[in-house]
C-alpha cells in the first residue's frame, strides 16, 4: 500500500509536467488540492469506519503501472460482446485510458457525448462549474482519481433534449505484460428537463491483475431524468473501485443500477445528494459472486431538503467463500420533512463459508417522514425446492429458478430491453442454468 502511495506521489509530478499548459488554472488547483488530501490521508485501512469490512491491502499490494502506453490496439470483434446487441447506441470507448475514435460513436449536436479531455479544453466554464463539485472530499480513492483526472466520458444533455439512443461507456484494459492501474473520470450533466440512459462497463483483456479506480460525477438538473447502469462483470483478475456521486435538483429523477456479477474485488461508493425538493432517486443493486470474490456496496442518500423520495433495493447471492458488504446510509436532515426513504437489502448465502456484512444506517432527524428499511440473510427455501422438484423441475434448475426470481426484482428499473436481456442472460449464466424465458 505504501509502495503504491509513493509511486502515485512521484507519478503526480510526472503527470503535472506532461499536462504542459494545462497544469494551471482552477481545474488543476482542484487536482492539486485532492492530491494533497490524499498525501495527507493515504489509503484507507480497516481502521476507517467506512472500510472496516473490506481490506484494500491485497488489492493495493501490486506494483501497478500507472501510466500506460497507447501502443496496444483492439479489434471491434474482440470486444463486440461487451456492447448491447441489436440496439443502436452512442459509444465512448477507451483503450488503456486513451479514447478510441475508431470504436466510438459520438455527437455534439443537441447534446455532447464526447471525452472528458475535450470538455476540459473546449468547455472551461463547464469544467469549472462541475469538476469535483459532487464527490465528497473525504474519500481517498476519489481524491486520487481527481488528482489524475484527465480522460473519460463527458456527457451533457442540453435543456429539453432527450437523447435518442442510450450511451455506452466501455473502458478496456489490454495486456501490457505487467500489473496495471487506470483511473477514468466521467462527468454527466443532464440539464433542465433533459433525459438520457447510460451504461458503463470496465473490462480487462489482461492476463495480469488490473485495478480500475473510476470516479463519476453526475448532475441532474431541474426536471431531468437519468438512468445510469453499471455492469460489473469483469474477469477474476480485475479489481474495481467506483466512486459515483449524484447531485439532484428539483423534481429530477435518477436511477443508478449496479450489477456486480464478476471481478475479483469491487467497491462501490455511491452517493446521492438531494439538493432541491421533489426529487426521486432509485438505487438498485445485484451481487452474485462466487469463489474468491468480494463485492462491497457503500451507499449514501443524503436527504437535505423536504419532499424527496428515495428507494433502494440491493440483492445478493453468495456462493463458495464469497464475501459481500452492504452499507447503506440514509441521512434525513432536521428540516427534510415529508421525506420518503425506503431501503431493502436481501441476501442469500449458498454455503457456510460465504459471508455478508450488512449494515443499514438510517439517521433520521426530521419527524414528519416515512422511512423504512429491512435486511435479510437467508438460505434457499427447502420447502420451495421440494415443491418445485415434485413438479418435475430438477434440483439444479429449481435452485437457479428460485435465485433468479430472488435477484430479479432489482432489474425493476432497467428500461432498455436489450440491457434487460443481457443482464437476464448474465444472471442465468452466473447461476449456471439455461432458462428459456425472462422473468
Amino acid at each position: 500500500m505504501e509502495a503504491l502511495k509513493d509511486k502515485l506521489e512521484s507519478s503526480f509530478l510526472v503527470f503535472e509536467n506532461e499536462l504542459n499548459g494545462q497544469a494551471l488554472g482552477e481545474v488543476h488547483n482542484r487536482r492539486k488540492e485532492a492530491f494533497e488530501r490524499f498525501v495527507e490521508s493515504g489509503f484507507p485501512t480497516k481502521r476507517h469506519e467506512e472500510w472496516k469490512y473490506t481490506n484494500l491491502k491485497p488489492i493495493l499490494k501490486h506494483d501497478y503501472r500507472v501510466f500506460l502506453s497507447d501502443d496496444n490496439t483492439v479489434d471491434f470483434s474482440a470486444i463486440k460482446k461487451f456492447f448491447l446487441s441489436d440496439t443502436d447506441t452512442y459509444k465512448l470507448v477507451f483503450i488503456d485510458g486513451y479514447y478510441s475514435s475508431w470504436l466510438s460513436e459520438t455527437t455534439h449536436e443537441k447534446f455532447d457525448i464526447c471525452t472528458f479531455s475535450s470538455m476540459l479544453t473546449k468547455y472551461r466554464d463547464v469544467a469549472e462549474k462541475y469538476f469535483n463539485k459532487a464527490l465528497p472530499k473525504e474519500e481517498a480513492l476519489a481524491s486520487v482519481n481527481t488528482a489524475f483526472a484527465k480522460e473519460g466520458a463527458f456527457i451533457r444533455i442540453k435543456r429539453n433534449q432527450t437523447a435518442d439512443k442510450p450511451v455506452e461507456l466501455i473502458f478496456i484494459t489490454t495486456d501490457h505484460g505487467v500489473e496495471t492501474m487506470s483511473q477514468p473520470r466521467n462527468l454527466v450533466v443532464v440539464e433542465e428537463n433533459a433525459e438520457v440512459s447510460i451504461l458503463e462497463r470496465h473490462q480487462s483483456l489482461s492476463s495480469k491483475p488490473v485495478l480500475t479506480n473510476v470516479a463519476t460525477e453526475i448532475f441532474a438538473l431541474r426536471d431531468s431524468r437519468l438512468n445510469y447502469y453499471k455492469i460489473q462483470n469483469d474477469v477474476h483478475t480485475a479489481s474495481l473501485i467506483d466512486s459515483t456521486s449524484v447531485k439532484q435538483y428539483a423534481n429530477s429523477s435518477v436511477t443508478v443500477g449496479t450489477f456486480a456479477l464478476g471481478n475479483k474485488f469491487v467497491r462501490n461508493n455511491l452517493n446521492f445528494f438531494l439538493e432541491e425538493e421533489y426529487t426521486q432517486s432509485y438505487l438498485d443493486g445485484i451481487t452474485i459472486i462466487d469463489e474468491g470474490q468480494t463485492v462491497d456496496h457503500h451507499t449514501l442518500v443524503d436527504h437535505k431538503v423536504p419532499n424527496c423520495y428515495s428507494d433502494e433495493l440491493y440483492k445478493g447471492i453468495y456462493d463458495a467463500n464469497a464475501h459481500g458488504v452492504f452499507n447503506g446510509k440514509v441521512m434525513v436532515h432536521p428540516h427534510a420533512q415529508k421525506t420518503n426513504a425506503f431501503q431493502q437489502n436481501n441476501n442469500i448465502l449458498l454455503t457456510d463459508k460465504a459471508s455478508i456484512d450488512t449494515k443499514p444506517q438510517l439517521e433520521i432527524y426530521a419527524d414528519d417522514v416515512k422511512c423504512s428499511h429491512g435486511c435479510t440473510i437467508g438460505q434457499l427455501d427447502d420447502e420451495a425446492l421440494f415443491y418445485m422438484q415434485s413438479r418435475g423441475i430438477p434440483e439444479k434448475e429449481a435452485k437457479a429458478l428460485l435465485l433468479y426470481a430472488f435477484a430479479n426484482d432489482s432489474l425493476r428499473n432497467v428500461k432498455i430491453p436489450a440491457l434487460r436481456k443481457k443482464l437476464n442472460r448474465q444472471i442465468a449464466n452466473k447461476l449456471n442454468v439455461n432458462l428459456d424465458f425472462e422473468l
Binding site: 418445485m388 418435475g392 434440483e395 428460485l402 430479479n408
Partner: protein, 251 residues
C-alpha cells in the same frame, strides 16, 4: 401401478408410518381418511420423494420400478403428482413460467422437445376454463398472496397441465368454498381415465360425493387399520373414529 409394501418411515428418529400396505391399480380412486396426525401427509410426502423423511423399511413400486431410488423430480417425470396440503409460495416466479418450466423439464427428461408456445397457451386456456380460473392468475407469482381456496385450485390446475398417471390430493377440499369444491371435483373427474389413478386424502365425506372412491382406507397411528368401499366413508362421517380406535384396541 402403485404397490406399497410394509412401508415404514419417520422423521428425526420419530416413527410415523409403521408398515403401510396399499395397492392402487389404473383407473381406481382410493380415499385415505384418518384422524389428525395419523400420517396421511407423511405417506404422500414419502411417495413424492421428500428427503426429510427417513424410510426405515418396506418399499414402493411404481409400474415395476422402485420409487425409493428416484429423486422427487424423477418421480414427477414418471407421472406422480402431489397436490400439497399446504402449497408453497414462490415469489418472483409466475404461474405461467412455473408451469412452462415444469412441463418442459419433464419433456426434456423423456428426451422430447419443449412444448411449442402456442400449444402451451392453448392447453393453458383449455384447463383454465375447465377449472374456471381467471386469466390474471397466470401472471401472478406462484401462490404468493393467493387465498387458501385459490392455492388449492392452482394445484389442480397444475395437475391438469401435467397430466400425471397417479395424483395424490392431500386435503385439496380444505379451504374450498362449496362452488369451488364442485368445480375442482368436476375438473378431477374430467381428467380421470382408465389409465390413471387418484388417491384422495380428506376428512370429509362431502368431497367423496363428487369424486367417488372405489376404496376407502383409514389410516390411524401410522397403519391402515380398516379398508372398505365408499360406504365406509359414510359410516365414518356418521360415527367418527372412536369405534375404529376401540376395535384396534380390542384387536
Amino acid at each position: 401401478m402403485l404397490k406399497i409394501s410394509n412401508l415404514q418411515a419417520g422423521i428425526e428418529g420419530k416413527e410415523i408410518l409403521k408398515g403401510i400396505d396399499l395397492e392402487v391399480k389404473p383407473g381406481e380412486v382410493h380415499a385415505i381418511m384418518g384422524p389428525n396426525g395419523s400420517g396421511k401427509s407423511t405417506l404422500s410426502s414419502v411417495i413424492a420423494g421428500r428427503e426429510d423423511y427417513e424410510v426405515n423399511g418396506g418399499n414402493i413400486d411404481f409400474e415395476g420400478e422402485d420409487l425409493l431410488d428416484l429423486g422427487p423430480d424423477e418421480r414427477a417425470h414418471k407421472g406422480i403428482f402431489l397436490s400439497f396440503q399446504y402449497p408453497v409460495e414462490i415469489p418472483g416466479v409466475t404461474v405461467t413460467n412455473f408451469i412452462k418450466t415444469a412441463i418442459n423439464e419433464s419433456r426434456k427428461a423423456k428426451g422430447e422437445e419443449a412444448m411449442p408456445a402456442n400449444e402451451m397457451l392453448k392447453k393453458m386456456r383449455e384447463k383454465m376454463s375447465l377449472l374456471e380460473i381467471d386469466n390474471a392468475f397466470l401472471s401472478r407469482s406462484l401462490n404468493e398472496g393467493f387465498s387458501g381456496g385459490e392455492k388449492k385450485r392452482n394445484e389442480i390446475f397444475q395437475m391438469a397441465m401435467l397430466e400425471p398417471k397417479l395424483a395424490i390430493l392431500d386435503e385439496t377440499d380444505s379451504g374450498l368454498d362449496i362452488d369451488a369444491l364442485r368445480i375442482v371435483a368436476n375438473g378431477v373427474n374430467k381428467l380421470k381415465s382408465k389409465n390413471n389413478a387418484v388417491i384422495v386424502i380428506t376428512h370429509y365425506q362431502r368431497l367423496l360425493d363428487y369424486i367417488v372412491p372405489d376404496f376407502v382406507h383409514v389410516l390411524y397411528k401410522g397403519r391402515i387399520v380398516k379398508s372398505g368401499d365408499k360406504t365406509l366413508a359414510h359410516e365414518l362421517e356418521a360415527k367418527g373414529y372412536d369405534w375404529i380406535k376401540e376395535e384396534r384396541v380390542e384387536g
